[in-house]
């Protein structure tokens, strides 16, 4: 089953910079895909299109067989609840504690309080932030903020997980832990798309690699490495 499908998708920003050019790509359910490419090649744009943070200029995007380009505004939240997203700039709610930030993602989908109280500490333990539960984002180190964002993205077990440089501010040991987590999540059937620069991670995992350059897919390899 095709989980994600791009058909001739282009994205040209207001200032005429073309971030993606005529992209065609199919990602099947349960796949694990690395998006690699130099800075500014369009990886984040690709991910932002999937959660409809931005809209494509031309072309159509299908998620689980559904065209999300003509989605009505009031259906967008539904889409986003089914996609966990680790943002490159974290996007934490700056006036809420770590606990509240993660709980928010569960509240939004109407999970009852007792489930929230059980699941949030559990996921915090997974990313190693159990003892920072009551800190505000500005009281955290860069890597800690990144891990909060990771925890929020998969706390509600979404069928799709998008990760935009999830290990950019993490030391190798922690990164390895996070990658193990992503693999486990992927194993239970979650489709994972991860944009990354980290050569060592890509090389170690040996998964499908899609390489972008200047908004064009220049490589799509089943069991690739970073840099062909």
């Amino acid at each position: 089953m095709n989980m994600i499908e791009f058909r001739n998708v282009s994205k040209i920003y207001e200032n005429d910079s073309a971030a993606l050019k005529d992209i065609n790509l199919v990602i099947k359910k349960g796949e694990f895909v690395f998006m690699v490419g130099p800075s500014g090649s369009g990886k984040s744009t690709f991910i932002k299109l999937l959660i409809k943070e931005i809209s494509s200029t031309t072309g159509t995007i299908f998620i689980a067989g559904r065209n999300i380009c003509n989605l009505k505004n009031n259906r967008i939240p539904q889409l986003r609840r089914n996609i966990g997203c680790i943002f490159q700039d974290y996007k934490l709610l700056s006036d809420r504690t770590v606990f509240e930030n993660i709980a928010f993602a569960l509240e939004v989908i109407g999970k009852p309080n007792y489930i929230i109280k059980a699941q949030v500490p559990q996921v915090l333990k997974l990313v190693g932030l159990y003892n920072k539960m009551d800190s505000l984002p500005h009281q955290l180190s860069g890597g800690e903020q990144q891990r909060v964002c990771i925890a929020r993205a998969f706390v509600n077990r979404p069928p799709i997980l998008l990760a935009d440089e999830p290990t950019g501010n993490l030391d190798p040991a922690t990164s390895e832990g996070i990658m193990k987590l992503l693999s486990r999540i992927n194993l239970i059937g979650t489709t994972v798309v991860m944009a990354t620069h980290e050569k060592s991670i890509v090389n170690a995992m040996r998964r499908r690699v899609v390489e972008l350059e200047d908004g064009i897919i220049i490589r799509d390899q089943k069991r690739g490495v970073y840099g062909s």
Binding site: R80, L93, S94, D95, F104, V108, G110
Partner: protein, 305 residues
Amino acid sequence: MSLVFRPKHIFGETFSSLRRNFLMGFTAITTVAITLFIVGVFSIIVFDIQSVLNSIENQVEIAVYLKDNISDDLKIYIEDEIKEWPEVEEVTFISKDQALERFKTQNEGSDILKEIQGNPLPASFEIRLKDPQKIEQVALRFVDKDGGNIEGVDEVIYGRNYVKKLFSITAVTGTIALLIIIILVLATMVLIFNTIRLSIYARRKEIEVMKLVGATNWYVRAPFLFEGSFEGFIGGGIAVLLLYFLNRFLLIKGETALVETMRIKNLALLGTDNVIIFIYLAIIVIGILIGLLSSGFALRRYLKV
């Protein structure tokens, strides 16, 4: 949509948000309180000025002085005639004795009383009209075809020019007062909207993040709307309190002076109509509504994520 009404979410969010964004809540509340307070003060003052002017208007009367030699029959005939006119609100007969009595009270202690011998004052009818604007029309009925007064009537006094000018003043001040109140209310709305919009602007990033995490518009909006109405309610409440104290320690003195000197009844505070209660209620209702609507409007552009 199914998640709109989650009272715990809405109330919980509002209070923790007020705690977290103390500065902004505080600012919104003071703005509501101050502007509505000013509207309140102004309403009371305008109401009282209108009362004073109305009461002056209503004191405008026609005095019909009778000849001393008028027969009782004629007097009764005139009185019955006047009473039948539909414009007349009230007609009072003042006999020669009553007139003297009244003159004495009004000039008590003055030397002039010593010099009065006998009773030089005429008897009279004092006529108050339902609509003071018709005064000239009514007064002219005491004039006969030849331009003199009708039989038994010595003189008719109603200060034609004075009355005309008085009406032009009350008309102008009435318009001005109404316009000013409208301007004030509009200004209040803009000021409160400005404040709430700025405080939402300062939180636009948070709204964006909520939406990206999958919150529906209503899920994001509800706590903001509740917060806006709550701030409007508290601000309105403070305005009412301030107004209450201002009334109690200041304005009521002014009204007391008005009542004592000019015998004016229908005042905002001292009147029997409970106008002030109405003003208090209106302030709170307006506060809540403006808070609610301002939040709603200000949110719109940040919800488009």
